[in-house]
């Protein structure tokens, strides 16, 4: 057994142990911390599967932003949970659920061994057409050229989810500011970090979008970093979430999907199909889409995290 495979086995065992902890821990807070750790470990698994783009997305969104979201929710639910208490399922129910879930796992594990050999792959055709897209990263080429329709629909999912979250606001707070206002002492280390990090974070986020066409990275990963920087300044009380009724905010949110859709529709005119890019202009058009989408993604992620409005617009 080589060192490499020993490391892989150790990683797999660690991932499963942390996942089991996340499910079995009695305390919600411990489970959520376990989930964040799990997200970071899982991004290492993605690296060992040579999927750097997914590793970045998993670390940023799967572990990072989802973790912050769940920690915030856990803190709010904690006090209510203690007063109500919960009924736990009986031992027979737990054993039978465990047995059935183990059966499903065994079935899935079996299919892993029965996967066709040689594995079907679209990698050669992706490589053959890569030059035509002007990009060097095949995953970005799939996201923005070969399967741009998926990405267009996905970019519509973020505003839709945000409309869903906002519609859960109480009537009297409609159009107001999401979440609670954070206040921190001027001498707090969080305030210091919130003043120090954003320029570097913004630079890193924009760089990640820029290199995404040729290297691992892209608008989702870069957008998440930008969102994280905004959230950091909000948590330190330096900035506040704008009221959701602000027109500029809504324009930022829909600018990306609108530009993407407009370019898709323009495809009917020049090459003749929806979302087809005119020959020779693929790279600039893709960069325009990326540039328009990044602020929309960053704003949508940060606002999804902030939740429905809970304060009056002027409060």
């Amino acid at each position: 057994m080589t060192i490499e495979s020993a490391l892989y086995i150790a990683l797999a065992v660690l991932v499963l142990a942390v996942a089991a902890w996340t499910i079995l821990a009695r305390d919600d807070y411990a489970a959520i911390v376990g989930f964040v750790t799990y997200g970071l470990l899982l991004s290492l698994v993605w690296v060992s599967l040579s999927s750097l783009d997914i590793a970045l997305t998993e670390a940023a969104i799967g572990g990072g932003v989802t973790g912050v979201l769940l920690l915030g929710a856990g803190a709010r639910l904690r006090s209510a949970q203690e007063s109500t208490g919960v009924e736990r399922p009986g031992i027979a129910q737990r054993v039978s659920a465990a047995a059935l879930c183990a059966l499903i796992s065994a079935g899935l594990a079996l299919t892993v061994f029965l996967l066709p050999e040689p594995a079907p792959t679209l990698a050669p055709s992706a490589a053959a057409n890569l030059a035509a897209t002007g990009m060097g990263n095949p995953v970005s080429a799939v996201l923005l050229a070969y399967r741009a329709l998926d990405t267009l629909l996905e970019s519509a999912v973020l505003p839709l989810a945000l409309i869903g979250v906002w519609s859960l606001a109480s009537d009297r707070f409609w159009g107001g500011r999401p979440g609670l206002q954070h206040r921190a002492d001027r001498e707090d280390v969080l305030v210091f970090l919130a003043q120090l990090l954003p320029p570097f974070g913004a630079l890193m986020g924009i760089y990640m979008v820029w290199i995404g066409t040729d290297h691992p990275g892209g608008k989702f990963q870069g957008g998440t970093i930008l969102a994280a920087m905004w959230i950091l300044t909000k948590m330190a009380g330096i900035t506040d979430t704008p009221p959701i009724s602000r027109r500029w905010l809504r324009i930022v949110l829909i600018a990306g999907p609108s530009v993407f859709l407009a370019i898709g529709l323009a495809g009917f005119a020049v090459p003749g199909t929806f979302l087809a890019y005119p020959a020779g202009f693929e790279k600039p058009i893709i960069l325009i889409i990326e540039a328009a989408m990044t602020p929309s993604i960053a704003a949508a992620l940060a606002l999804l995290l902030a939740g429905p409005p809970e304060r009056k617009p002027n409060g």
């Binding site: 899982l42 979201l69 109500t84 659920a97 879930c101 490589a127 995953v139």
Partner: protein, 117 residues
């Protein structure tokens, strides 16, 4: 056993663990957590399929890889909506479980709303 098969088995176990948590936990927050774990297991299985399709100098088939990236973002959107629904449930009823007759009687419904108006 190579890395793809190893993590394939790992992903199968993650799906089972997530499903168990989804079935067994009475509290919605833990169900959301378990559902995310279940989802990441499915993504990982798909990632293993991508890895097995490594060809043409690429570390894996880029098509499933791109779909997993899309999936992670959509999963986050759904989680944010689920958390917002849960907090709204708490705000409206003061309950943190889905079981309507667990701890409160019907006359206790909407306590916060009546206090606010």
């Amino acid at each position: 056993m190579n890395a793809a098969t190893l993590f394939g088995v790992c992903s199968a176990a993650l799906v089972g663990l997530g499903l168990y948590g989804l079935v067994i936990h009475p509290r919605p927050l833990r169900k959301i957590l378990a559902f995310n774990l279940l989802g990441s297991g499915v993504f990982l299985l798909f990632g293993v399929v991508a890895r097995r399709g490594a060809a043409a100098g690429m570390g894996g088939d880029p098509v499933p890889q791109a779909l997993v990236i899309t999936g992670i973002v959509v999963a986050f959107s759904a989680t944010a909506l689920a958390v917002a629904l849960l907090l709204r449930l708490l705000h409206e009823t003061g309950r943190t479980t889905l079981n309507a007759d667990a701890s409160k009687n019907p006359s206790n419904n909407r306590p916060r709303e009546s206090a606010n108006s």
